[in-house]
């Protein structure tokens, strides 16, 4: 297989970006408007997805995530649904989408006259926006246009031996083809400071990698919690260092171009680390890594068109904005949870396929999924997301030279 032969038809956005899906996002701006937003999305049909933020209070991080998601290339149109007294402004989210040339509308339930009238108004608006999506121009895409995320969850001993190893090989192939790969889970790099920092593309990136590692370790020490669970131990993983090595392998072997903050897309192709941990702040709010959906949502809010979710024990989730392709290194999990698993990397453990063959097979699956073939989670209607309260400085290098953000 030649990677540059993998091409498909994507969706051309007016801002010049290319998407692999053409969704209407119905966004609630506080938990109080989630019922109305959910009813609107359900009535509008399969291309409409409901996302939102539960909190009423002001949180710049949550606004940044929502604003990134309404600007996401997989999103063709946005309907923001507010109650009318919360901090996050539905009108401004709609304006952010409109500013990128997307169809956009908004409503406030208090202005619309309550639940039923807001749903009626919203459904009419959603149908207009969806009808306009039928005219979205198509455009050829290849691996060089693609941003793919890597996340692992429900890890077992096969993740570090097969699932993440095959994902890492695929990321090498993607980066060599001119594409972009983003991996996260710095909390699952504990114990590997020197190894991680040495992979920075230049001295400044190496310094940033060391700094983001130090922040993650300080966080783990403060909360006395490392990213390792009873299921991991029972499956044979003994220490966070062991789990870390198995997790970092999913980033492959290419140099790391820089450290991204959530909601700030990579400025150029290559391999990037996404920092999802909270930055030091007086409120100290934000539990890092509350669940896998948070990591998936953070990767997608940072621009990923599609995410590889590597799972040994078997997770089932998808995402509202981007396809999730589930890869397992455990052939037993692949057999037992076949309705949910997209790719079996366990064949490299049994010796049925080589690492290179498995990575090429995964590349073909990614291209087919980007071209519109539904992933298993899409077929099953999975559309999870998770946006927590958090504090992150999106531009920590403002005063430092050589920053990547």
């Amino acid at each position: 297989m030649r990677p540059n032969e993998l091409v498909w038809r994507g969706y051309a956005r007016k801002n010049g970006k290319k998407g692999v899906r053409d969704k209407l996002l119905v966004v609630h701006t506080v938990e109080c408007s989630s019922h109305v937003a959910g009813k609107i999305a359900a009535a509008a049909g399969a291309r409409a997805e409901a996302i939102g933020f539960a909190g009423c209070g002001d949180n710049a991080y949550a606004v940044r995530v929502l604003a990134s998601l309404v600007r996401h290339p997989n999103v063709g149109a946005v309907l923001a649904v507010g109650l009318g007294c919360e901090s996050i402004q539905a009108k401004k989210l709609a304006e952010a989408a409109a500013g990128e040339g997307k169809g956009a509308d908004w409503l406030a339930i208090q202005e619309a006259g309550g639940t039923l009238k807001a749903i009626e108004k919203g459904v009419a608006s959603a149908r207009r926006l969806l009808a306009a999506l039928d005219n979205t121009p198509r455009v050829e895409m290849g691996l060089a246009d693609l941003i793919v995320g890597g996340e692992c969850g429900g890890s077992d001993f096969t993740s570090g031996l097969a699932g993440n190893v095959v994902a890492g090989r695929f990321f090498d192939l993607l980066v060599d083809a001119g594409g972009t790969a983003i991996f996260e889970e710095i909390l699952e790099a504990i114990g590997l400071r020197d190894l991680l920092a040495a992979r920075g593309a230049d001295a400044e990136v190496r310094r940033r990698l060391g700094a983001v590692y130090d922040k993650a370790l300080a966080y783990c020490r403060a909360v006395r919690q490392y990213s390792i669970s009873p299921g991991n131990f029972a499956g044979g993983l003994t220490t966070i260092e062991e789990k870390s090595m198995g997790a970092v392998i999913k980033s492959g072997n290419r140099p790391i171009q820089g450290v991204l903050k959530v909601g700030v897309p990579p400025p150029r192709p290559g391999l990037w680390l996404l920092d999802t941990t909270p930055d030091p702040h007086w409120t100290r709010y934000g539990i890092s890594n509350p669940n896998d959906n948070e990591g998936l949502t953070a990767l997608i809010a940072t621009g990923c068109h599609l995410v590889l979710f590597i799972t040994g024990r078997g997770n089932v989730v998808g995402n509202a904005v981007a396809p999730v392709v589930k890869v397992t290194g455990n052939s037993a999990t692949f057999a037992a949870m076949g309705d949910d698993m997209d790719f079996n990397a366990g064949t490299v453990l049994s010796g049925e396929t080589s690492l290179a063959e498995a990575a090429a097979g995964l590349a073909r699956l990614v291209a087919a999924t980007a071209g519109g073939e539904p992933s298993k989670s899409e077929l099953l209607g999975h559309c999870e997301y998770h946006i927590p309260y958090k504090y992150q400085d999106p531009d920590p290098g403002r005063s430092a030279p050589g920053r990547e953000e």
Partner: protein, 112 residues
């Protein structure tokens, strides 16, 4: 016992002093796959699927090496062929790691 029925463990890196059991290992012969494929080792005790088997004697205080990097410290001597898990290996970072139940991985100091 033919080679096909001898259970296997996977060594990732040639520097590793442990290998990962690809199926439940009873005491007895184990084939090594991955780096140094073809070698055999004798399991001294049962090793559950996905758990680690010591390829060499490891002294108390010594590094346990997997992926070619230290993944923690042996807090008691580990004999070649032995099961390597929470009862003998601790994290250098996570102070809770030596307080966990070796079979379930659940914290022993949490009250319900």
């Amino acid at each position: 016992m033919s080679a096909g029925t001898v259970p296997a463990a996977f060594r990732i890196d040639a520097r590793d002093n442990v290998a990962t059991a690809l199926s439940d290992l009873p005491p007895g012969r184990v084939r090594l796959l991955g780096e140094a494929a073809g070698e055999e080792i004798e399991a001294a005790e049962p090793v559950p699927r996905g758990h680690k088997l010591a390829l060499r004697d490891i002294a108390a205080g010594g590094d346990v090496v997997k992926y070619g990097v230290p993944i923690g410290r042996a807090f008691k001597p580990i004999a070649r062929g032995g099961w390597v898990h929470l009862h003998c290996l601790e994290s250098r970072f996570d102070e809770k790691s030596s307080q966990l139940d070796p079979a379930t991985g659940v914290s022993r100091d949490t009250r319900y």
